[in-house]
């Protein structure tokens, strides 16, 4: 701000001192003549500058920044062209431990009155506000960056990056050590994140062992920068470590690790407030890492428990193609109440058992019961010769269990003899499998029976089916036929539509048949909800089968 002194009104008589109006002003006022001599001060100024009595030189009794400004104002010292305040400008500087703005106003007789306004508190408040705003913005940004991922490695990378960018020259994340192995995530001044595992004792860095055990952080002034071991310094870090902060990354009960912040000797050491802020950041980063670690642990547990419940990957067995496809009801689910299995025969010429079923209900609870049924069927495999007996025993096992649910299933014993695939097909309360002939005719297998797990007595009939090359027997659950949707939104997919779709599948490989049926049903449903949908195709291959040569066989492709 430029003050045009020529426009200012006269400010009082020469040497008027305490008697004049300005003499009782609450702020310090110093009057100086053009040659730089003090003309007078008021009471407030006398407290601030006790030596400034009339007749002394301004330069001797007030700080240089006021004397310089005065000299520039009077043209005694030419103002530097490049920098600094121009004539009449308000100047700013310190007096003792406080800061002041000095406003010059001319008096009528050519002197200048310097009004000093104490802005120490305002400046401090403004600085504190700016710092707080920056920190709040940083924490908000850091939180959303940390919350976005549930991947532990990614969380550590983000933490290291943010810390190196905003809090220090370099940051190192130390994962909870296992033995002497310490996993480190570095981010240096170049912003590159590097993972490394070192073999060392964490106690070599003062404060690190404590931080990793969740003890309160060691103040950084206790950490000798020279004691920071070389393994804790990222490669791109130039110059010796000037100061270091080691702070815990608090987790859910157990520490998620520790954060080391490093500054090179060229920069100022960490202040106490910076250290406190680093801990605030570390608490958020630690929470995010703990959540990610917990998610990973839970996901691993779920994956392990789920492995047995997931539909198996089917492949050709003894010259017969088997293919299965499963789509659970819930979008986020992987398992449900439908299931299928293929139990391959030990050797060619014996029967392979295929089972597809549907437990009443959906989701995880239904899936648990499918697991029980699948295990029971596995145990009953030696009796697969007699479908009725197998179903009777399975029914008994279900009736005696605490599950109140029931199930329907269709099964077939499959064997290929002289190019023809023979199936003994039995349904237990389940939609009868459909047979696609080479000419596109679609038939239902003539089998029916009681569902299992509901009545003590069950009975069923078994159909004999023969498949010529290119023909398929499709097992499906009612999730397919009862899929609701279509162009008008409220129709069932229905058996007739499934049959006419299958008529176009004559001659297709088994995988293509299940894929096609699942695709049509999914498209029929569109955006709407649906039940679990499972399909298994048993196909007599046209040509010599490719999968008969598994990938491990070296050399030419031969069937």
């Amino acid at each position: 701000m430029l003050v045009d002194i020529s426009q200012q009104p006269s400010a009082g008589p020469r040497g008027a001192g305490a008697g004049a109006t300005w003499g009782s002003a609450p702020c310090p006022v110093v009057v100086a003549d053009p040659s730089g001599g003090v003309v007078g001060t008021n009471a407030a100024a006398a407290v601030l500058f006790p030596d400034a009595t009339a007749g002394t030189w301004l330069r001797d009794v007030v700080p240089a920044w006021i004397a310089d400004a005065h000299a520039r104002l009077r043209g005694i010292v030419p103002a530097p062209r490049t920098a600094g305040p121009g004539p009449g400008t308000i100047v700013h500087g310190t007096v003792g431990d406080r800061t002041f703005e000095a406003h010059p106003t001319p008096t009528g007789d050519g002197d200048v009155m310097w009004w000093l306004l104490d802005d120490t508190d305002r400046r401090l408040a403004e600085d504190a506000l700016r710092t707080e705003r920056e920190r709040a913005a940083f924490l908000a940004g850091a939180s959303s960056a940390l919350l976005s991922s549930l991947n532990l490695e990614r969380c550590m990378e983000v933490t290291a990056e943010l810390a190196a960018q905003h809090l220090a020259d370099a940051a190192v994340i130390v994962a909870p050590p296992r033995g002497r192995k310490v996993r480190l995530t570095f981010c240096g001044p170049d912003g590159e994140v590097v993972h490394r595992t070192v073999q060392d004792d964490v106690r070599h860095l003062p404060g690190l062992a404590e931080a990793l055990r969740g003890f309160p952080p060691v103040p950084s002034r206790w950490i000798d920068p020279a004691a920071v071991p070389a393994w804790a310094v990222p490669e791109g870090f130039t110059g010796p470590v000037g100061s270091a902060v080691v702070t815990p990354l608090p987790g859910h009960g157990v520490p998620a690790g520790a954060l080391i912040l490093l500054r090179s000797g060229r920069h100022t050491a960490f202040t106490e407030s910076e250290e406190i802020f680093a801990r605030l950041f570390a608490s958020r980063a630690g929470a995010a890492m703990s959540a990610a670690r917990m998610y990973a642990e839970q996901a691993a547990i779920t994956a392990t428990l789920m492995r047995e419940l997931l539909p198996p990957r089917l492949h050709a067995v003894h010259g017969v193609e088997f293919a299965g496809r499963y789509r659970p009801a819930g979008m986020a689910e992987r398992v449900g109440g439908d299931f299928y299995d293929v139990h391959p025969a030990a050797e060619e010429g014996q029967e392979t058992l295929v089972v597809l079923g549907d437990v009443c209900g959906k989701g995880l609870e239904a899936a648990v019961l499918t697991g029980k049924i699948r295990n029971t069927v596995q145990a009953l495999l030696p009796l697969a010769e007699d479908h009725q007996r197998l179903l009777g025993l399975l029914n008994g096992a279900l009736m005696n269990s605490h599950h109140t649910r029931f199930a329907t299933l269709a099964m077939a014993s499959v064997v290929r003899r002289a190019g023809v695939v023979r199936l003994r097909v039995t349904s237990a309360g389940h939609p009868a499998p459909l047979i696609v002939r080479a000419d596109g005719t679609v038939e239902q297998a003539r089998t029916r029976g009681t569902l299992i797990g509901a009545f003590w007595d069950v009975s069923s009939t078994t159909a004999q089916v023969e498949l010529a090359p290119g023909e398929t027997c499709l097992f499906f659950t009612d999730g397919i036929t009862e899929a609701r949707g279509g162009p008008l939104g409220d129709e069932y997919f229905g058996l007739p539509r499934l049959e006419s779709a299958l008529a176009r599948c004559a001659g297709m490989p088994a995988e293509a048949v299940v894929e096609h049926v699942q695709m049509l049903a999914a498209q029929w449903v569109g955006r709407g909800g649906h039940d679990d949908m499972a399909t298994v195709a048993v196909t007599a291959p046209h040509h010599a089968h490719l999968s008969a040569v598994n990938g491990h066989t070296r050399g030419r492709y031969t069937a």
């Binding site: 976005s148 991947n151 998610y295 990973a296 162009p487 490989p509 894929e515 999914a522």
Partner: protein, 368 residues
Amino acid sequence: MTPPAKSPGAVALGPARDLLWSAVRGGDEHRAATIVVDALETTADAETVLLDLIAPVQAKVGAEWAANRLTVAQEHTATAIHERVIAVLAHRPECRGGTPDGPRVTVACVDGEWHALPARLLAEVLRLRGWRVDFLGSHVPTPHLIAHLHQTGPRAVALSSSIPTHLPTAHMAVTACQAAGVPVIAGGAAFGPDGRYARALGADGWAPDARSAAAVLARGLDRPGPPGVDRGLDDLPHLADQEYTIVAATTHQLVKQTLADLEDRFEPLRGYTERQRRHTAEDLAHIVEYLATSLYVADEDLFTRFILWTADILTARGVPARGLDPALDLLALQLKDFPRACHTLARAREALGHRTPPPKTPGPGKPA
């Protein structure tokens, strides 16, 4: 069939392409595998075999099917054969790629997308180039994809879609991946020949084919910044007019009403069999879906291209294509309060009016 040769070994593959095409069209898996294994031994380069032999033949399968010169069964069979042949290739010693500590990448098809082969080819190419690839296959529900990203923390996701009507779903998947801190490269016919829809949806990258996709991934994609308040509206501000939402949410009503009104406007419909009426209803549903997609990405040409392609297909099926114009008019009447929808429909009707007898070119992707 002579697509531009892109690698030195590709030139020699011309005859192999013709042989492979006839093998897969005939459903002869054994012969197809022999041709491919021979080609691998000749060129000694698995990537060339994947991209200059299998990929162009599969592209021809898609084009012939879209032009109605291949049955559904033939198309599925050919694709299944290609899948198995790729699986055989992957186990050959000269095709072992992937290093245990190579960068990790996830390859997946958008939910609703059943054409997995382009994504599968990319997955194999990336594996050959040293990536650790998680191939999630076709029809991947977005929650599964995101759970996978959290569990594996890949460097990027390659998202494939061939049919434009999946673009709204693709958009949801793109924003969800980015919100999880993983950048997305989009690919497939759905994103437009120049990738314009990939850009519109805010994907971090786009590539027209597997080789360029591998190059883009090798250069690296920036990690997406923290998500904004509403990514959907940030990318596509026109969605605020709710036209897409309303058309998509009332698809079934629009189809029903148009079908009912069409009885008066289009005489042949009255004589249709139940089966023909069902086909008409399905065609109408596709028309509304494409209209909604076109509103979603704010590109009227997308809808016009689909309508012209549908006209060609109807003609090929022996169904009068002149039923299309009254259908579009009836839709416009129902959507009279929606200026963008009306303008889109009017543009398509205009194009139908100027339509000359169909040149046999593949369309924007058949709605399966």
